[in-house]
Amino acid sequence: MPKIELSQEALFSYLQTRMDDVELEKLLTVAKAELDEPVNDEGIVKIELNDTNRPDLWSTAGLARQLRLHRGAPMPDYGFVSRPGEAAETGTRRVIVDAGLQAVRPFIAAFAVTGTAIDEALLNDLIQTQEKLCWNYGRKRRSIAMGVYRSDLMKYPVRYVAADPDVTRFTPLGLTEELTMREMLSKHPKGQEFGHIVADASAFPLLTDDRGDVLSFPPIINSARIGAVEVGDSNLFIEMTGTDMPSLLHACSIVACDLADAGYTILPVTIEYPYDTPVGREVVTPCYFQTPVSTTVPYIEKLLGRTIAGDELAAGLRRMGIAATVTEAGVTIEPPPYRNDFLHPVDVVEDAMIGLGMDTFPPEVPSDFTVGRLSPAELFGRRVKSILVGLGYQEMIFNYLGSRRDFIERVYPESEWEAQHAAHVQVANPMSENFEFVRASILPHLLIAEAGSANAVYPHLVFEVGKVVRRDATDNYGSITRNSLGMLGADAEAGFTLINSHISALFYYLGRDYTLRESGDARFIPGRCAEIVVNGMAAGWFGEVHPETLEKFGIQVPVCAGEIDLDTVQGV
């Protein structure tokens, strides 16, 4: 979820009103936004935007537009956005695309702006918009990358070409010497960060003007001259390249509408492709690519839970910037050019909810009758817990992830490590080796707890009822999750006799029968470990923990422990 920093003064200026934090926080909810940090000494507020499908809100102008509309401001007119197939006159403002790009980075959208000299706040806002759009919405520049240039230094038409990375040289922004495009991948910080997007291509994307002067190497870095926009510039050229036409056109409209709101005149640009695109071979951008969405008033009423008059609905949608035609036959909305989050009529329902206001939907007590139930495993687990508590045990609860060292190496002798490793579910991308394995047994956690609790008054009797996961080749997922009881006693007197009597009491009060057979489990002292058998199935084990295991955990009192597969004992 993106967070943006913006000038509070700029926000109030776009809103044409001022407000305190409480009022601002309340208003921000209509944009699913939260005041992350109130205004600081530099006049900056931090705002978190929760809707990842509304990149139009990730800038001062865009956020202010939604807030202003919801307060009743009239819908803005973005007449510079052309319709597909519309022959808008753009003069010399053209971008000519080279056929070699189809396999590399096929699409581009562009426009120019002219107006007053750009100030620092607007430049910072533009850079932030570029970052948020390209990082969060453009998948870290993979599907959208954006460049801004000083159009006074350029000569149209702009050429978008596939260049030889080892021959083409220019001075990238931030450096003073010329490098080949391939050298930039390793020598320029942006090349190191984003180079992987194009590194495998035989030709690299390059933007030049008609004279061959370089604008940029998208999606990596601008040139040091035409691409070095500064405070005071008043004529800019803005382009976006990418791999997905709808999101590219969407991003282009967002930036154009923002700059229009900032008072700039938007000058569309014609793009000429030598190959087919979803919007044709010649397209004027910014371009309206959205399609109208149709639904009905009853559909909206059914989901929102109350009747809504037609004009009330239209007014509500208008507060979300949506032009809607509401008739007996249905509701048709046209998404504004800066939005592309209407996949289904249900998306109109949500905008209606926000536009009408949450306060207009009083909570209603649900009337459907249903029977509540705990799961059988939960009920059985609770019986087990109450018996263990009666036997004097303290209940513990542990995290399920741990290390190979704790789950395997400290518990088992080395001869068993590989077999035990294979029985555990291992994480392929662990954050650290401390959270690399899912536990297959509760015993390691009980031993960890004992090892860290030598200062606690003895005797120690602890247990946990929880899940364990074991590899199982017969399962569709290759592993099974089981409900398990782990119990441990530690004390000078703790031994087989103690745990044996507790296991016996547990089964007695659970009303379950069991038999024991000798077990050669290496975690226990030979001859002092029993396997529990229920209905002919192995259901657990208990015994005196081997001193070698205790030593590896640094435990200096005798320990007896047991673990029972509750699903087997319960009989499910």
Partner: protein
């Protein structure tokens, strides 16, 4: 403490001391031992307790050097010193060699030798030419008489104060005493402070109160089985206990307070008509995200957000027709009325095994077999690729649920949220704000005002998108909700670090109080 409480707080030993003495009496441990037949330990206890209560105050402290008779001294007092015995032997049996005397008296040769040395110097005994000891003056020396006097005086355990002994006695004592810790002497030299006490005014008040209440210190402590059998309890006076004395610690078997909290939440949801679901910790991308209509290219699905299982990497299969229906919905909306996400659904990636990252997995998995109307919930362990700190855990609980029904809508959703806020969190005020979740539309966050802790986010909710429900065979609206249960538990337990919920420290868990 009231006067009554003070009386009850007195031990019988204290009571007896308080009752025995007057305001002018100077009290010391020796006197108490004699007067009340206490042993020294009881005496010291009574004095230290009464002093702490300021019923007794130190009157005077005198440094004393005293001689205590040892067990050897007691034996000498009774059976004679070696000097006395040698003299008596020679007077009785006639002359004898030193070894003969030692052997006959059962003494060490060197002890007999050194005794003879002194006796010979003092002219009591002498040695003839045959090295036989003979009687000289035959009269005990002054030293012998002094030693005998000291032994007789101290016999029976009496201490001898150095400042009460004459110069001659002190000289004799120097030869037969050693400091504490040394063995083999008839007397032990002890230096100590002797303290005398007197009762304070408060002590006299307490004495008065004891007399008024008729407390004697002879009351019975424990009721015994014998007293019940023989009926002697009828005449017994039972000592009143100080009910405010600190109780001793016990180590009970006990539930974990965090688990108890989770149980209460589950019970509450059951009482609201919800049925519990559960499922495996290892899941597929299909159920974790694809079935929830999160596009496979979504930024939240990057490698660094979920834990992938190393082996096996993929499930063998995903159940049909759900796989095909979900895939089609992603690609072009299928029959849901949606435009879909417009990309090629990856049927290998969807089988990728992961550790469940959100409880909504089980909500989705429950849909195909759900009843209508139906309400379901689960409290499920979820796993996230996060740096573990006070606010992030590698694995944690989420409580999630769904409500299916022809008549459910936004307003019934708000009705449930209000119920959760009031019933589960004790909220005094509830606020609903638009939210964003990839799988619900509309989406609503619920914020509540806790009477103590102020406003916080209770959870998220919404109506499942048709792209979620219809491919799983559900045609009615489905409300979906999730509660930040671990955070609520922290508040409930008065903790501020999520790691504390899963503490491995037994003492911490034992000491944690419930709420």
């Amino acid at each position: 403490m009231s006067a009554n409480d003070i009386l009850k707080s007195l031990h019988p030993l204290e009571v007896k001391v308080l009752l025995r003495y007057g305001s002018n009496d100077l009290i010391d441990t020796t006197r108490i031992q004699e007067d009340l037949r206490f042993n020294l330990g009881q005496c010291n206890q009574a004095v230290s307790w009464l002093t702490a209560k300021e019923f007794l105050v130190e009157h005077e402290r005198v440094h004393r050097t005293v001689y205590e008779i040892t067990s050897l001294g007691e034996e000498f007092a009774q059976n004679g010193t070696p000097d006395e015995r040698i003299l008596a032997f020679v007077q009785e049996h006639g002359s004898a060699t030193l070894p003969e005397i030692a052997s006959a008296l059962g003494l060490e040769n060197r002890d007999v030798g050194s005794a003879f040395g002194s006796l010979s110097k003092e002219g009591v005994l002498a040695m003839d030419a045959e090295k036989r000891v003979t009687v000289a003056s035959g009269t005990p020396s002054e030293r012998m008489r002094e030693v005998r006097g000291l032994l007789d005086e101290a016999h029976g355990g009496k201490e001898l104060a150095a400042d009460r002994l004459s110069a001659v006695q002190n000289e004799a004592m120097a030869g037969i005493s050693k400091k504490r810790g040394s063995a083999g002497s008839p007397f032990r030299l002890v230096e100590r402070d002797e303290v005398t006490y007197r009762l304070t005014d408060a002590g006299m008040d307490a004495q008065e109160n004891l007399k008024t209440a008729g407390v004697t210190g002879e009351e019975v402590g424990a009721l015994t089985s014998r007293m019940l059998k023989d009926g002697s309890w009828r005449t017994a006076q039972f000592r009143a206990y100080n009910i405010n004395s600190p109780p001793s610690r016990t180590l009970p078997g006990r539930r974990n307070p965090y688990c108890e909290y989770l149980d209460r939440v589950k019970d509450k949801l059951v009482s609201l008509g919800f049925e519990e679901f559960d499922g495996p910790i290892v899941e597929t991308e299909f159920w974790n995200s694809d079935a929830l209509f999160m596009p496979q290219f979504h930024s939240a699905r990057d490698i660094h957000d979920v834990y992938y299982v190393k082996e096996p990497a993929h499930a063998r299969e995903i159940e049909e027709p759900y796989l095909s229906q979900v895939a089609a919905t992603h690609e072009d909306g299928w029959k849901t009325g949606s435009a879909g996400w417009n990309y090629g659904f990856d049927r290998d990636f969807t089988r990728r095994l992961i550790l469940r990252s959100q409880g909504t997995v089980m909500s989705a998995k429950t849909l195909p077999k759900a009843s209508i109307p139906g309400k379901y919930f689960g409290t499920l362990r979820c796993f996230r690729y996060d740096q573990v700190d006070a606010t992030h855990l590698s694995d944690f609980y989420q409580t999630e649920g769904i409500v299916l029904g022809e008549s459910v809508n936004l307003r019934t959703l708000l009705g449930f949220l209000q119920m959760f806020a009031e019933e589960l969190a004790g909220a005094t005020e509830v606020k609903y704000v638009p939210g964003y979740f990839p799988f619900t539309e509309p989406s609503v966050e619920v914020h509540i005002k806790h009477p103590v802790l102020g406003w916080f986010e209770l959870g998220g909710s919404g109506i499942f998108r048709p792209e979620v429900t219809e491919p799983l065979g559900i045609k009615v609206p489905v409300l979906a909700w999730g509660l930040g249960i671990d955070r609520m538990a922290l508040m409930n337990l008065g903790l501020d670090d999520l790691r504390e919920l899963f503490s491995t420290n037994i003492e911490n868990v034992r000491l944690r109080r419930g709420n």
